[in-house]
């Protein structure tokens, strides 16, 4: 019952936390560029404004696809905080990402099409690391449930340092931040306009934005798991890794897709795979 309440709290509170996080993000980004930056609540203003705009859809698939994207993202976090199998959670998250891509593919705009294609490249880039993370966690604690992992009190970070770094690495891709913002960028112009989101406006764009808030909070929760043995350290690490993402976003230029793919797989192989092999060797010996 307690876990169910936490999961419901996630569904209600995550958009507020996510929105504020994005507001802080924009503020810090502006300060890093010596600007004043928008108000803290700007992400909320943006979404509320988008809801006030006329609904413009280019075809019948757009709204259902994006609705599914939002709903499955919410279900992802709900399952995670409810203590379900993390493996299942990750599959649902992948499904939600697939719906976003379907929504983008459904339009005839070449920008949106190209954005969808690049999002697929990103997915192939980060999925191996996601799987290795889950395998690593299971190898150490022998459980796939959030509360099962926390209750063991095992400091995951000591067993899985490589996997943790690898996971923070792909976190940047999930946030669609520079240098991995090839499919859709938050900032000014890019060569494919707004990429993935080019053909979405008003209601659908607001839903995409909200799904992004939910997703970010869920992923931060997953980062917390590595430090769950000490709640204070966990929260501090979550804040630190989010700040790191902002810093990286502001200091890196965008990579090309082939470089992203190569690097992400290399990171997954060396940090993720290496960590699991090392774990195997040490625990056997």
């Amino acid at each position: 019952m307690k876990h169910f309440i936490i999961a419901v709290a996630y569904v209600i509170l995550a958009p507020f936390i996510g929105g504020i996080l994005f507001g802080i993000d924009r503020k810090i980004t502006a300060r890093m560029q010596r600007r004043v930056g928008p108000p803290l609540l700007q992400p909320f203003y943006d979404v509320l404004k988008l809801l006030m705009k006329d609904v413009q859809v280019v075809n019948r698939l757009q709204i259902p696809a994006i609705l599914c994207h939002l709903v499955f993202t919410i279900i992802t976090g709900f399952l995670f905080f409810e203590g379900s199998d993390i493996l299942l959670t990750m599959f649902v998250l992948t499904l939600s990402a697939v719906f976003l891509i379907i929504g983008a593919y459904s339009s005839s705009s070449p920008f949106s099409f190209l954005g969808a294609e690049r999002e697929l490249v990103l997915m192939t880039a980060y999925e191996p690391m996601v799987l290795l993370t889950l395998i690593g966690i299971y190898k150490v604690v022998g459980s796939f449930s959030l509360y099962g992992i926390i209750s063991t009190g095992i400091p995951l970070i000591i067993y899985l340092p490589g996997i943790f770094i690898g996971f923070v690495y792909i976190f940047t891709m999930k946030l669609r931040k520079s240098p991995f913002d090839i499919s859709a960028s938050h900032h000014a112009h890019q060569e494919i306009v707004r990429g993935l989101t080019s053909d979405f406006s008003g209601l659908t764009l607001a839903m995409i934005e909200m799904a992004h808030w939910y997703e970010t909070v869920f992923l931060l929760g997953l980062i917390y798991v590595f430090f769950a043995f000490n709640p204070l350290a966990g929260v501090l690490i979550v804040i630190a890794s989010y700040f790191l993402e902002i810093l990286v976003d502001n200091t890196f230029a965008r990579f090309k897709w082939d470089k992203i793919l190569n690097e992400a797989w290399l990171v997954a192989l060396i940090l993720g795979g290496g960590n699991i092999v090392a774990l195997y060797v040490i625990t056997r010996g």
Binding site: G37, Y45, K53, H189
Partner: protein, 147 residues
């Protein structure tokens, strides 16, 4: 104050301008003027935009493009003509290929004077457009309720 006025996103289109006004529009984004303070984002996508910012005069080649972009912006929307060229055709008005200002093809709400228009004037113009945007939203709602 509605949320429309707190998060207006711009679409900037360069007609046949000399690029003077365009540079001033981009200057608004720099740390010195930082229009993101007002939640304004310069988006390159008409479907995300609320304010259509036009620089330069309209000619026979870009008039269809301007109409197309305007029709892709979801309601409510406003148009700001920046610089004398976009207001009336400016020094290009007499050219054989120039139609004149932006209001020859789409309804313009705010005219920003100057050659080139100063960033301060552009920001003023945009802020003035926000009031119109708000009013337009209320009018649209009334029409929807009535129908």
């Amino acid at each position: 104050m509605s949320f429309l006025t707190k998060s207006p996103w711009l679409l900037h289109y360069d007609g046949s301008s000399c690029n003077g006004c365009d540079i001033e529009v981009l200057a608004c984004l720099t740390p010195l003027y930082d229009i993101e303070r007002f939640g304004i984002i310069n988006t390159g996508n008409p479907k995300h935009a609320d304010i259509f910012l036009l620089t330069g005069s309209v000619n026979f080649q870009n008039m269809d493009i301007i109409r197309n972009l305007y029709s892709q912006i979801p309601d409510p929307k406003v148009v700001v003509a920046v610089g004398i060229c976009a207001c009336s055709g400016g020094i290009f008005a007499e050219c054989y290929n120039v139609l004149g200002g932006a209001d020859k093809v789409i309804p313009v709400d705010v005219y920003v004077q100057g050659c080139a228009a100063r960033p301060e004037a552009i920001i003023d113009g945009v802020v003035k457009a926000l009031g119109i945007l708000d009013r337009r939203y209320k009018d649209l709602k009334k029409i929807k309720v009535a129908s």
